[in-house]
């Protein structure tokens, strides 16, 4: 068992956003959480990564209770986040953004090794190395955000809507990358609006509506679900 979330209640200021959310992500699997705008997807990612404290509930990572811990300690346990809207450092170069990704790693040789892997995965980033991250196109920025999250050699990746605002061709590419990462054995929690892709990739998926999990099942099962077909796929 890699990540387990139990009865999570989270509020943004005085407004409660998540209600008794429970789910689990097995080690090495990819779990998708799908929901419309305002369902609480980003809140969920922020709570797991430590940026928000829940009102109640538990988050366990590898059987360790990480509920309410500050984000830098959660990163050190091996959870990396690809945040909503990329979350890059626009006034830092591409290289410096990647260096920030390896902030928790002390061993310079391991960092060099990951750099090589990143350059294979995203050759475009090595061309852009000295450019400011703020000058990248949407697709390049998303690749950098993913690359940055990989720099710490995470056990688990949290994706917050990686397809948001990208052209269809780039979306294909991003999901291709996510698939590659899954094949490399990284545990993945993918929060998405892009239903088709997210379900095809997922071993297991949950549907989040108005802050509650309303439906769950294996990816291909859910693709056949009438509620989902009607409301999300427009079929």
């Amino acid at each position: 068992m890699s990540l387990r979330v139990e009865e999570l209640n989270v509020a943004y200021g005085k407004v409660q956003v998540l209600w008794d959310v429970s789910f689990k992500v097995e080690g090495g699997s990819l779990v998708s959480i799908i929901g419309p705008n305002g369902a609480g997807k980003t809140t969920l990612i922020k709570t797991i990564s430590g940026l928000l404290r829940p009102l109640s509930g538990k988050i366990l990572f590898e059987d360790q209770d990480i509920t309410g811990r500050p984000p830098h300690t959660i990163k050190k346990l091996g959870i990396s986040t690809v945040p909503e809207g990329r979350g890059l450092f626009p006034n830092l170069t591409v290289k410096e953004n990647l260096i920030m990704g390896s902030y928790t790693i002390k061993d310079q040789q391991r960092i060099e090794k990951t750099f090589k892997f990143i350059h294979q995965l995203f050759p475009i980033l090595s061309e852009r190395e000295q450019q400011l991250a703020g000058s990248l196109s949407g697709g390049e920025a998303q690749m950098l955000s993913i690359a940055r999250a990989l720099m710490s050699e995470p056990k688990m990746l949290l994706f917050d809507e990686p397809s948001l605002g990208l052209a269809p061709m780039i979306v294909e590419k991003i999901f291709e990358v996510i698939k590659t990462l899954k094949q490399r054995g990284i545990t993945i929690l993918l929060v998405e609006q892009h239903v088709q892709h997210a379900l095809e990739l997922a071993d297991y998926a949950y549907i989040l509506e108005n802050g509650r999990i309303v439906l769950e099942g294996r990816g291909e099962e859910l693709l056949e679900n009438p509620h989902l077909k009607k409301h999300y796929l427009g079929l």
């Binding site: 990163k75 050190k76 979350g87 450092f89 260096i99 920030m100 902030y103 928790t104």
Partner: protein, 289 residues
């Protein structure tokens, strides 16, 4: 009366002065940019640094230019203390609350100085640098030349720190996006604390240099507060070189006002420059955001 010599003299004077002003402002810029804190008490930290320099000069018979050897570590620790006691509690507060709290700190520092050192201006009895170099008919005062060299060295070290070390890059990352920096594994509290320690520590350098040619009184913080904020506003948020350039612009304005108008009109020029700037370039001349 507008002789080339006089122009050149004031040009040199302005650059010397301006690089020292930039040194006084860089700490404010770091704390404003990285910690995201609007600190209205910065000028009074400069005032305090000048008094500490005076105190060390008198009690230890130390040349003011050497006092930062003790002053820097003291102010470094003061920065940590002030961060933990005050700044840490208001970094997420709206700017208005930050202003209210730091103005309170300003009043505290000002009255502390008044109680300990009284109202009459204090200046250092002697400095080894009380002479001038002569280039033809142009004078270069040794105290200000030394000040400029210390300032430029500090800016160079700071630039290398912010671009070549992991901690320095993390500071710039924190200035860009706090949440993302935390997600990368940065302990935001510790890094903020280090930034305040560094920012206030550098004030001790500036205080020691300023005291070699300017007396200090408890109201000194007023003029330096305005001056350093103007420099930061003109530079905008960006690299350290913007602060150096912007400091030099204010130094030139200062020198030329004193020479061609009236030495007492310095503050007016600074105010006018500041207002024009807010009017036409609220982002600053060299700022990226």
């Amino acid at each position: 009366m507008l002789s080339p010599t006089l122009l050149l003299q004031n040009l040199i004077f302005g650059v010397l002065l301006g690089s020292i002003y930039a040194l006084a402002a860089i700490g404010l810029s770091l704390i404003f940019g990285v910690v995201n804190l609007t600190n209205f008490a910065h000028g009074d930290f400069i005032m305090l640094a000048m008094y500490i320099s005076y105190f060390l000069g008198v009690s230890l018979k130390l040349d003011p230019i050497l006092t930062p050897i003790i002053g820097f570590p003291v102010f470094f620790l003061l920065g940590i203390a002030v961060y933990l006691a005050i700044f840490h509690k208001i970094i997420r507060a709206p700017p208005l609350s930050q202003i209210a709290v730091t103005v309170g700190l300003l009043v505290l520092l000002r009255n502390f100085a008044l109680a300990v050192w009284h109202a009459e201006p204090k200046s250092i009895p002697r400095t080894l640098l009380g002479y001038s170099y002569r280039l033809g008919s142009i004078l270069i005062p040794a105290d200000r030349l030394t000040g400029m060299l210390i300032s430029i060295a500090t800016f160079l070290i700071l630039h290398l720190f912010l671009t070549k070390t992991k901690t320095g890059i993390a500071m710039r990352a924190l200035a860009d996006n706090l949440d993302s920096a935390a997600l990368m594994g940065v302990n935001v509290r510790n890094l903020n604390m280090l930034t305040c320690a560094l920012g206030i520590g550098i004030v001790a350098l500036a205080g020691g240099i300023l005291l070699t040619f300017q007396p200090v009184n408890p109201m000194t913080g007023l003029i330096y507060g305005l001056l350093t904020w103007s420099i930061v506003a003109m530079a905008g948020l960006g690299g350290v070189s913007g602060i150096l350039l912007s400091g030099i612009i204010f130094g030139l304005a200062d020198a030329f006002t004193a020479a061609f108008w009236d030495p007492r009109a310095r503050e007016i020029t600074i105010y006018i420059l500041f207002i024009l700037l807010l009017w036409f370039r609220p982002k600053g001349l060299f700022g990226r955001r």
